[in-house]
């Protein structure tokens, strides 16, 4: 009985110590941020990040081997310290989730305490170090003796440690280059987030950029400001030829739908020229007085005005600009060693080339399917393999946990 009381008291004390320590770390971080004028911590890149990382690992292992019996070291690898580290980390992530981050021009208290840019701030850096120390020393302690019972524990803890460690240190080596390229143009550079030109180790030529679009939508709008009145049933359905739909007091039938059309003085007619627009011929009946009228709607494009169908003094029918279903770029790449590759680059399907990944990012959205500009992103992340090792360890740990449950 006495023993339980002692252990209860010890455990409460450990939690108190944990939360005092966490608060201390937070306050120290805020002071450091304030002293440095709220500029944040910056991201170390190769080779500095590797040097920092290796030193950190060596220090942890050194502490584990020579000072593992020290009370402070025992304390940091127990649950109360772990919970205080997770709580501080969660608190900062919570602030990140509540406060808008990286808004330019912010110079108030949030800027000087680092809370307007949490993930590059001193409080976050110190909190991460605390978490990694606690997690690292715990995993080291559990790793000897190594046996089957510890496997799930080690996979989860070491995997998470690797993800946080490599994710933070690797961020400085991540290169992200945006390439804006016109059809038939060849480029060998792009620009980074700070609009600096960055050269690439290959040439890139855009042969063709294509978009497949969904049908446009039928919209019931206020004529005055072209806004959608809220809560209207059946508003914004995709237009299909022959479709019949009831919106408010109107029964609407799509008599004809043209994907690609041009307008003469009154009518739209099918056309395969350039800069055509989608259009639809509607028959609309008022459900109360049974009056009927017909007319065209079209969403137009960046060169052509849209066409509306006036229902009454306040409301009209309109066609929305079609949304993209898929878009892709046919590109030709010449690498430094003279390899020539032709590839159809699609969203969600990056291409690996000379240590870079190429992504289909966007296009000139104001021109829609007439865009001749493709926006491609090239990303190089040498730490990815390390992160994936961590992710697979945690995945395996999660499956192990699922398999076992809590007995």
């Amino acid at each position: 009985m006495q023993e339980t009381n002692i252990s209860k008291r010890r455990s409460r004390k450990e939690y108190e110590q944990g939360f005092i320590f966490s608060s201390g770390i937070f306050i120290t971080g805020v002071i450091l941020e304030w002293i440095t004028g709220g500029r944040g911590t910056g991201l170390p890149s190769w080779p500095l990040n590797v040097q920092i990382g290796l030193s950190f690992i060596i220090i942890l292992v050194f502490i584990h081997i020579y000072y593992r019996e020290l009370n402070a070291v025992k304390w940091i690898s127990r649950v109360p310290a772990a919970i205080s580290a997770i709580t501080l980390f969660s608190f900062l992530v919570l602030l990140m989730g509540l406060l808008p981050q990286n808004v330019s021009g912010e110079k108030g208290i949030l800027h000087f305490t680092g809370l307007s840019h949490v993930r590059n701030s001193f409080p976050f850096l110190l909190s991460g170090l605390y978490l990694l120390s606690s997690l690292g020393l715990t995993a080291l302690r559990r790793s000897s003796p190594l046996n089957l019972k510890n496997i799930g524990f080690l996979l989860n803890h070491t995997g998470l440690w690797i993800i946080v460690f490599a994710g933070s240190l690797g961020a400085g080596d991540l290169k992200r280059v945006q390439i804006n390229i016109q059809e038939n143009e060849t480029v060998w550079y792009g620009h980074d987030a700070n609009h600096q030109i960055r050269q690439l180790p290959f040439n890139l030529k855009l042969i063709d950029f294509t978009i497949v679009e969904y049908n446009p939508r039928l919209a019931y709008i206020k004529s005055e400001d072209l806004s959608f009145p809220p809560g209207i049933e059946n508003n914004l359905l995709l237009i299909e030829p022959g479709m019949k739909v009831k919106i408010k007091d109107w029964s609407i039938e799509v008599k004809e739908f043209l994907h690609s059309s041009k307008k003469d003085s009154v009518h739209f007619y099918p056309s395969s020229d350039s800069l055509t627009v989608p259009s639809a011929f509607l028959r609309v009946q008022n459900m109360f007085n049974k009056t009927e009228k017909t007319g065209w709607i079209s969403c137009g494009n960046f060169m052509t005005e849209p066409e509306f169908f006036r229902l009454d003094s306040a409301y009209s029918l309109a066609m929305t600009t079609p949304e993209a279903k898929t878009y892709s770029s046919i590109i030709e790449i010449m690498t430094k060693d003279g390899k020539l590759i032709k590839h159809d680059l699609q969203v969600n399907k990056p291409l690996k080339i000379s240590g870079w990944n190429l992504y289909q990012l966007s296009y000139d959205e104001s021109k829609g399917k007439w865009s001749e500009l493709s926006i491609i992103e090239a990303i190089r992340d040498p730490w990815l393999v390390v992160i994936y090792i961590g992710i697979f360890m945690v995945l395996a740990g999660a499956l192990y946990m699922f398999w076992l449950g809590k007995n």
Partner: protein
Amino acid sequence: MNNWINFPGFAITAGCLWLIGLALIYAGKKNRVIKNAGIILAASGIVIIVFYISVLWIRLERPPLRTLGETRLWYLFFLPVIGLAFYLRWGLKWFLAYSIFMAWIFLLINLRHPENFDKVMMPALQSPWFVPHVVVYIFGYALLGVSTLVAVKGLYLYYKGSQDEKVIKLADNLVYFGYSFLTLGLLFGAFWAKQAWGHYWTWDPKETWAFLTWLGYLVYIHLRFRHPHKEVWALWMLALAFVILLTAWFGINYLPSAENSVHVYG
């Protein structure tokens, strides 16, 4: 035109089958035939929902996982499945009743707001990761949602002065299963993000809140591991973690920090 193919018909049939099945399970205490009939009825309610989701999937020409209304539909499926599975495994009738009650709440919300007619799916969502990412998450959320009900029951019992060891054991099991799904969902999301946006983690507000949720349950697991007898702490933590989960699930649609999130959906 509306792809919401007679949802009320399907949903109410399934919902009634669950209720009748549940009533028979309660009624058939000693009579195995009645009890089994109840189980079969409850299971056929699930089959109807599966059928409905399949037809909807085909009609929409995309997985019905995009809008909040569509995710609610999946809860309609998962909650009774979890309830029935736990009933068959551990004989927990009240647990089945809870899950069916929860499923009915989702059912009623969806009768009012189906949010389900739109075939459009933006290119970034068209990925083989889409279905596993969302389904695993929904399943995890459903398990954790039920664990919250268990926590509420545990707290109620505690403050009433009676304690039941079985309650916290059940909460533990649900959290362990739910948490492994949460982890899978988070990591599948990371793989997908790498393919679609070039980076596995961008601190998008949804990611931030999903990560917070993950940390919340992490604290619960550590508390249970280190202090198996401090059940009340753990149960309160479980209730708090669910509040974070709810924020991650739909609260962020209203947060100022989430205006530009790729995860904000109607």
